[in-house]
Symmetry: none
Subunit: 240 residues, 4 copies
DNA sequence: CATGAATGAGACTTCATTCAT
DNA sequence: TATGAATGAAGTCTCATTCAT
């Protein structure tokens, strides 16, 4: 049961209702195991496209090829559906990233370049990135959703990148910048770019400056790694 | 800090509402000419807080101290109201920035540092930044608004920063990175930070990593200017 | 704001909605002062006829000659509407009864006969009596409504009749029966009768034994006053 | 106390569910013949607690330990289920009462005291009484159910008590009050009390005047038998 | 016999916009 | 100008009943 929105008023012990007409129905497909993922896919696509509030439950259902009521068989409310989407995309990826950092053996610049590239492959360039747009947009209207997102995504992701920067400093590869802040600086342009792909970039607004993701990613890496590294390291990499 | 743009005159030197009632004219008439701006202020605050779709017309009216119908006397619909808000905040600031770039005489690193600082003072740290959050969030649901925003804000702002980077390259201060892309890299963390102030940062979500704006701004400047500048320039600035 | 049902999920900051077509509407009647009572009348009639849960908000509105939304201009939720109905009927009548008991000067048998007759005139034989049916029926499904009803109706009404019996005992007119229990015995058949008028009695069920209210009331009074009074009093009244 | 009707055999001497699993037959088959009664028990409990409309089919099924579809194998619809519950409880008890009256040999006051006590034992204090609450509440929404209830319960029960009063008058024990009306007066407080046990009494509403059943029953008997009897009879009973 | 996934009408409530005053 | 009562489409969630397995 969700804590995000107050449970919707247990609306009513049922007004007397005429029995629904027993007409012929389309054959029901039995796909119990596939349904939850089909619904999550539909929900992800629509949440990303329209946002949380503007996504209608029965549109999610229809896109997954079921009736409105069926959605509620699997997810008891819209906000639980949203949480399931978040868990199935961002939250699980972050956990993987943490493993990578813990076990990495090479240089920290490579680790960070690898993480950012992987992030772009697996998040930034996929619909998953749209989730962040949603939270940015609607956090204030849905405070409990915001808390959920902070706990399951923001905080762990931030920890992930701080840890990587910290490693660079400890190993004498990076200048001693505050790792928390540097982590933000590392992620910001990527997230920013991902955000745009799912909003203004997705509208074919006439004449808006298009962002070319790979180009920005490379430029960004060049800038910030150059900025982070000690000169010796920079020289070794041959960047400058 | 912000020497680049002149500090703007406060639009409302004193809150008109606080004035003692004057006998000669009823308060309603005295405020008649202030109405449009009062409505825009109320609308800006609410749009930023709740987003476009979730802001209710009569809440805007109430906050401005008028009845719902009155709002419609000044702005014929919710989206015209929104456009008026955008014109009165972002669009006019961008025009000022363009003047500054055109007339600047110092080093490009200083120009850029000045622009970014000014942007933070006048946009990033004010409600105006929230407008960008709105567009990010709702562009796809309101294509006409998105087009308007692209034309009046995104495109000119992008041109502004590209021009500045271009200037640095042409004057031999910066390495020859693609100016369009570098412009994005310059702005991204600031915008990113501003976005957060109006969404997750505004909810007091327990435990979410707080972003300290000035720190990020400094770290960012240090990183990217260090990255942009030719070595000679870097050495001259004494950054690393 | 009501405490009976959890506020209905602040359902949603509004999905983007096409502006409603500006077609010609029927002339709006301006009857602000009359509206609340018109709505209460419609609500009372429907609640009594169908019960609380089965009464649909837009049926109340339609019966009062307004659109669904208008109802919510006056009463913020279905349960507040119900409470307003209760306050406007039962609760105010009970207060009147308390005055009568406090100021009565004649014999207690007469007082009680008067109260029961008045109750029948003002409650039992009017739609107000149907409210009790509703609570009986739906108390367990709407616990906070039940609490409201207990506080505003049941408890004061019970106190009213207990006080009257107590008076009879103190003045030596009645035998010393427990006044709380006797009060129940006094009211029960009347309420019972009133209940039936609004349920089985209202359906024209073929062949069900009809209850003739006045006859039952007289028989009841004869029985219970005869039973309550001391013999001397009974002889004086000449009942036996 | 209840010498009039024989105490009924408990329908379920032991809860079948508690039995240890038998190897020879799967539990499902062993319970097959018990299913209808288990469903009726579950339905009675839920109908009484929530009312007819508010009771959900799959809650009945779940409480009986079967799946939703199974319920429909035994009872083709919700209203047939309800009728089966009524037949299994009230209707059969009334038939027994009619036998008792026909064969009784003692005084009518004793017969009536016995009937009322028995009614309280077997109906008023059991869930069966809740059925009456349901009909009171929902008769108008379900006319077909109301007609069924009138035919199978109301009319026969009313005839039962009228016959008893009539007997008292014919035997010179009672004053010549109209028997139909007196019958109502006899039953009303008991039914009233039973109703409350299943509605407001079942909610633990703070401060509502509690009804103590035995006390009301005794007071009621004292009052109405005193009121019904001729003086000679009253004196003989030594009541007052 | 038994299951339980699926259906979809219908409940309550919100809010952009209109228009009589 | 200014008001605010009125409208009604649209959103989320429930549940009696069916039917493929």
């Amino acid at each position: 049961m969700s804590a995000v929105l107050p449970s919707p008023a247990r609306r009513h012990p049922a007004a007397p209702r005429a029995r629904p007409p027993a007409r012929t129905r389309p054959a029901r497909q039995r796909r119990k195991e596939a349904r939850p993922q089909e619904l999550l896919d539909a929900a992800l696509a629509l949440f990303v496209e329209k946002g949380y509030a503007a996504t209608r439950a029965d549109e999610v259902a229809r896109r997954a090829g079921v009736a409105k009521g069926t959605l509620y068989l699997y997810y008891p409310s819209k906000d639980e559906l949203f949480k399931a989407v978040v868990r199935g995309t961002l939250a699980s990826l972050i956990a993987q990233g943490q493993e990578v950092v813990a076990q990495y053996r090479g240089s920290t610049s490579e680790l960070i370049a690898g993480l950012l590239n992987a992030w772009w492959e697996r998040v930034g360039s996929t619909p998953a990135a749209g989730i962040h747009k949603i939270m940015l947009a609607e956090a204030r209207n849905f405070p409990e959703l915001a808390q959920f997102y902070a706990d399951e995504v923001i905080t762990p992701a931030h920890r992930l990148f701080s840890t990587a920067v910290q490693r660079g400093i400890e190993r004498g590869e990076f200048r001693a910048l505050p790792p928390q802040v540097a982590a933000q600086a590392l992620m910001a342009p990527l997230i920013f770019m991902a955000l745009h792909r799912h909003s203004l970039g997705a509208c074919r607004v006439h004449g808006a400056a298009a962002i070319e993701p790979r180009a920005l990613l490379q430029t960004h890496l060049e800038l910030v790694l150059h900025g982070l590294e000690l000169h010796a390291a920079a020289r070794r990499r041959g960047v400058a």
